[in-house]
Each structure stands twice: as C-alpha cells, then as structure tokens.
Amino acid sequence: MKKIRVIFIFVVLLSLQFMNAYGVQRFPKPDFESGYLQPETLQPSARAGLLAIMDVSVLALALALVSWLVLKKRSRTGVFWTSVFSLAYFGFYRQGCVCSIGAIQNVTLALFDKSYVIPLAVLAFFILPLVFTLFFGRTFCAGVCPFGAMQDLVSFRPQKPDPRLNAVLGMMPYIYLGLAVLYAATGSDFIICRYDPFVGIFRFNASFGMLIFSGTLLVSGIFIARPYCRYLCPYGVLLNWASRFSWRHLTITPDKCIQCRLCEESCPYDAIDIPVVDLNPEGRSVTARKLILVSLLVPFFIVLGGWTGSRLHETLAGVNGKVRLAKILLEPERYRDQPEPFEVTAYKSSGKPLTVVYDEAAGVLRRFYTGGWLLGCFIGLVFGMILAGRLLTRYSTDYTPNKGACFSCARCVDYCPVEKNGTKEVKP
C-alpha cells in the first residue's frame, strides 16, 4: 500500500512538470476574436505531451477491450458501444488527428526524409492497431476506428454489391495506399488527410467540397456498409494483410459448424467465405490451366502497371508544389491575362534563381518516375493477385470469416445457434 502511495505521489509530481509549460509568460500571440478567418490547415496543432500519452493509452485500452469483447465475450453489443466511445473520443474530442490511417504518411515521410522526426505518439497510432491485428484480427476496425464507427451508425439498409463490382472497387484502397505513399515519400502532399471525409465533420469546419464528399460517402453508406473502409481506406490494406496472419481471429461459431447457413447473409461486408466442399470442383486440368494463366498474367500486369505508372509520372507529379511552380514559370503566356498566381508571387519574393526552381522540379520528377514505376508495379501485382483469387477456388468446409476482409464486428456471432460444447436457441 505504501509503495502504491509513493508511486502515486511520484506520478503526480512528474505530471506537474508538464504544467511548467503553461507557467511561462509567453510572447503573446494575436488572437482572432475580431472575425478574422484563418486559412484552413490540414494538421491541427500538436497535442501536449501528457495528452499524447493519454491518447496512446486510450488507444491501447480500447484495442484490448474490443479484442476481448470479440474473442472472449463474443459480444456485438459491447463492440458497438466501444465504437460509439471511439467515435466520441478519437473522432469528436481528438478531432480525428492523428489517426492511424493518416499515420501511414508520417511513417513514410520519416523513412524517406531524414529531416523529419516522427512523433512517438504518431508511430504508436500506426503500429498498435497493426500489432493487435497480427494477434487478434481487425479489432481496430471493429470498434476503435472513428471512421468505421461513423459509417456503422448510418448503415441502416446494407446491400451486397455484385462480387465482380466488389472486386473492382476493392482495388481502390491499394491505389489510394500507393498514391499516399508516393506523395508522402516525395514530400508532395498528405493526400489521406487532404481527402479525409470525416475530419471536417469531427471539427465542424468542412469545406463545401469535402462536405459533399462526406455526404456522398455517408449516403452511400446507408446501403453499402462501410464504403470508405472497404473501397478507400489505405490503412485497411495493411490491416488486411496483417489479419491474414492473425494468431487468433474471430470465428463465427464457437464450436463446430453445423452448416445451418444462418450466418450466410449476416455479414453486411460480404466477408464470410462460403464452404467449398468439393476438393476439385473444376477438374485438375482446368485448375492447372488456370494456374499457368495466372503465373503468366501476374508478371505481365506488373510490367504493364509499372510502364503505365512511369508514363504517368508527370501527371502524378503535378500535385507537387515545386513541379507546379516550375510549370507555371515555364508557361508565363498561359497566365498573361490572369492575376499572378500566389505561388509565383511567393517565388518572386524569395529571390531564388529560376534555374534552382527548375533543378528542384527536375529532381522531383525523377523521383516520380521511379515512384511511378513502383506504384504501377504494385497496382499491377494487386490486380493480378485479385484476378488469381477469383480464378482459383479454395477448399473449405465451414462458414468462416475471410480473415483479410473481416472487420471483426461480431455481427455474425449473434446468428450462430451453436454454443461452446453444445447448441443454443436463436432468438427469433
């Protein structure tokens, strides 16, 4: 007891150190109470040290709680209320920043830019959900991610899109991830934050364009459950990969599957693999032909994707500020009858020679050329693998969650009549 008291006093004294920051008389900043509108910024100011520690702690606790609720308690209600809390805390209170999805860009930038030091809290937000996913599946998506929670709340009448359309739309997160990494690695932009559909809602300051974007996602989310998570979320790609290797994953049935098919329609995300009991439904020769086709097609798509990406590198680089400025300066006649773009005004006041601007832009373009190849190869590989996945059938005997696509939301467990070591009655 005495030891606990000493530790408590020590922690209180330690936390007082953070208060020193508030005690110093600071250079007074101008306030903006007189109606001045500050330009929109993508990133809110950094959280104080103590609050950042609190955020990471809440994240870890929420992940642990949801994992326990999913795997041990098998409670959809518990997951739902945790996701409501996460929406309130990580969404509205923390204003959606830094989020695990956006942290991809911070991590990428830290890897490619030596001058950028990634804050530990941001790193924790990136790594913790991945670590939990490696152990317990996508419990982060189930009840911790505020984006998922927001979409879950509006998913009133979920329908299942055609599997082929689902597969095509399922390519989008990979493309988005590739672009986000490319732009972060080249120091061009944080596009995940720029096109974050919900952060404007969390902060009550969405621009008109982003409000429309958020609206379209939420409206489509009424009928297509979690459209952002399924068809856009770049972090979902990483979680999908990690979840495939998860140590323990949610199971629909706690015991032996009795093939009652009650869970078949329970998943609004189409993430339940239906049993394929026939070991070789198509015959060996057909499967062999498909395998040969896949082994030829995948390298072809990789090379084709890479070549296409490299051809598009100038278009891709148009997002970069240095390239954009160089383009404007190269085409002065295009802007002759228009007011001077503000980038040009800023450049002129910098006194930098034109050759420096062009050299910098050329350097960025070279990086985009390499990046375009890599991005294209990656997209080609993903396309090839998705095609292969659709061509080849896998043998399975039970109704099981698809470990990659399953959000571990635990909806399906309520439909399963089986109890551990016996059966239970399904509520009508």
Binding site: D31, L37, P39, Y195, V219, I222, F223, P341, F342
Partner: protein, 321 residues
C-alpha cells in the same frame, strides 16, 4: 428490384465521391490571383466609427520632407524634427522658426526650460530655442537607435531600440542606470522590441512609462528600474494591441489617460490611467495604409497631435462636441 435501385444509387454516390477526389487531385487549379494564405486585414481595419470620439481640426504641413519626431512645449509651441532640421510652430499652427541639424533626428523632446533634446540615431544632441547646439553626448552604446527621450528635473531617460534598453542619465550626461535589462533573478522579462518603435514618457508623478511593444504592454518603472506595474492586452480587437509590436507611440493626457498609436492597423486610441480602453481618436480609415511612426504629443488644452510621416503632416484632433 427496390433493393437493386438502392444499391445502384449508393454506387453512383460512391463513384461521385471518388471522381471528386480524382478531379480535385489532378485536374483542379487554384483560382489565379487568389492567395488562400493571404492575411486579410480588411475586417480588422474596419473600426466602429461610433467609438471615434475625436475629430480632426487642423493639419500642419512642415517644410521638412521627412519627419520623425514631434513635441509640444509648455507654451504649446509645436516642434517637428526630421532629416536635417527642426521646425517650430505656434499653437495656431503658424511657422515661427526653424534650424538645421547635421543629420536625422528620430525623436525630439522639449523640457520645461525650452531646451530641445534630439535623438540623433545613436546619440543625444541638445539645442536651445535659437537653434544653437549647446551639448552633444557621446554614443549611448554600439548599435544604439534612440527612439524616445523623456526629461525630468533630475533625469534624462533615453529609449534605445537597438539594444532594447532604457538609459537613465543625469543632466550632465552621466549614465546612472540601465532600466529593463533582462534579469530572470529579479523577474524582469526584458523589452521585446522587434522594430525600431520604442517609446517612453514620464507621468506627472515622475514615474517612467515604457512601451514593451513585443508584449503589447505599457510598463511602469521606478527611477531605480523596478517594475511597478503594467497594462495592455494582446488582441486583434479594438481594445488591445496586435501584430508583432504595438503600440508604437504614446503620450499622456492631463488626467493621466494614455493616448496610443499603432502601426499595421493604423489607429490612435485613448486608454484610462488604469489602461482601460475608452475610445478612438483616429480610425484606420484616417491614415494611408502602411503608415508607420505616428508620433504623438498632447498640448496644455489636451489637443492630440499626431505626426503622420506618410502624408508629411502634423494632424490635430480635438474631442467631438
């Protein structure tokens, strides 16, 4: 069928969202000439005219083409100092005399005996009423920029914006004390002077008031350099000061109220002796945008004189009836 319709609608919405992203990323261009980061001061510059309780009654146009300092003596004679000379006007604004000086006077003070003290960049020069130089002090300090002078019976205070310090001299030119030096042991935070506008004055009680422009404060000091108090509020609103460093100048009315002038948002205001905002003397609309160095003086009738270097005028304001 109905479900399919819902699904198609949802897919259309989703596709529209994705197309918006692609369009915005690759095909949209910012409107030329529009700077989204521009510091738009329009809303802040528009002051409530109801707060303006003074009106401009007269302008004095000096012969000097570059004017920096303004002072009024006990007989309400008006002194204007600038590059190469000093001009004297009577209380009606009629030019009485002028004399040449060998340089540029950044500030001016006239004591009760009529001696004219000029801050000549890094040193002080003292002239009599006939324009004869009676004394010239050595440089206050390396890199000194003298921006304000106040004279009492015993002391001469000099504000040095270059070294961010106030000097207290005796009348023989002997340095007695430095005031406002940063001293964490004595809780003196020091002056924050980002630009060469650093004003001081003494009140009727003999206490020294100095603008701490970077902190948007007016600080009161004893002769010994101890801080006795301060007032000021950092805000964009009319009742405080904003920007890097304001107010740029101040003067004292007969009842101990403060008259202040600012740059960036050019305006002249009156504060009570306790530092509470009372009203505007001149709104930003009264000045050319970008005007700096609105030196102030108050005569015996509490008329407020504002040096306007941009228009090369001394403008006189009186309370509205």
């Amino acid at each position: 069928m109905k479900q399919k319709r819902y699904l198609v609608t949802a897919l259309v919405f989703l596709s529209a969202g994705i197309l918006f992203m692609l369009w915005d990323m690759f095909f949209s261009h910012p409107e030329p000439g529009v700077n989204p980061y521009a510091y738009d001061m329009k809303a802040i510059r528009s002051a409530d005219t109801l707060l303006a309780k003074y009106r401009e009654v007269q302008q004095i146009k000096p012969v000097l083409t570059s004017i920096h300092g303004l002072a009024v003596d006990r007989s309400d004679r008006i002194y204007i100092a600038g590059d190469g000379g000093v001009e004297l006007y009577n209380r009606e604004g009629k030019r009485e005399s002028a004399f040449r000086i060998g340089g540029s006077a950044r500030c001016i003070h006239v004591d009760k005996d009529g001696l004219i003290y000029l801050g000549m960049e890094d040193h002080l020069e003292i002239y009599n009423h006939q324009g004869i130089r009676v004394n010239q002090w050595k440089s206050c300090a390396p890199e000194a920029i003298i921006t304000s002078i106040a004279v009492t019976t015993d002391d001469i205070y000099i504000a040095d914006a270059g070294n961010k310090i106030v000097y207290r001299y005796d009348h023989s030119g002997k340095l007695i004390r430095k005031i406002g030096e940063k001293d964490p042991r004595d809780s003196v935070p020091g002056f924050v002077v980002p630009s060469p506008w650093f004003d001081l004055a003494t009140d009727p009680g003999g206490a020294l008031w100095v603008v701490n422009p970077g902190r948007h404060l007016l600080e009161k000091f004893s002769r010994e350099g101890a801080i006795l108090g301060s007032w000021g509020k950092a805000t964009m609103a009319v009742d405080g000061f904003c920007g890097c460093c304001n107010p740029s100048h101040f003067a004292l009315l007969s009842d101990g109220s403060f008259v202040t002038s600012e740059k960036a948002i050019e305006r002249v205001k009156i504060y009570s002796p306790k530092g509470e905002f009372r009203f505007l003397v001149a709104t930003p609309e009264s000045f050319t945008e970008g005007t700096r160095g609105l030196d102030l003086a108050v005569d015996s009738r509490d008329r407020i004189l504002v040096l306007d270097p941009e228009r090369n005028q001394v403008r006189i304001f009186v309370p509205k009836q």
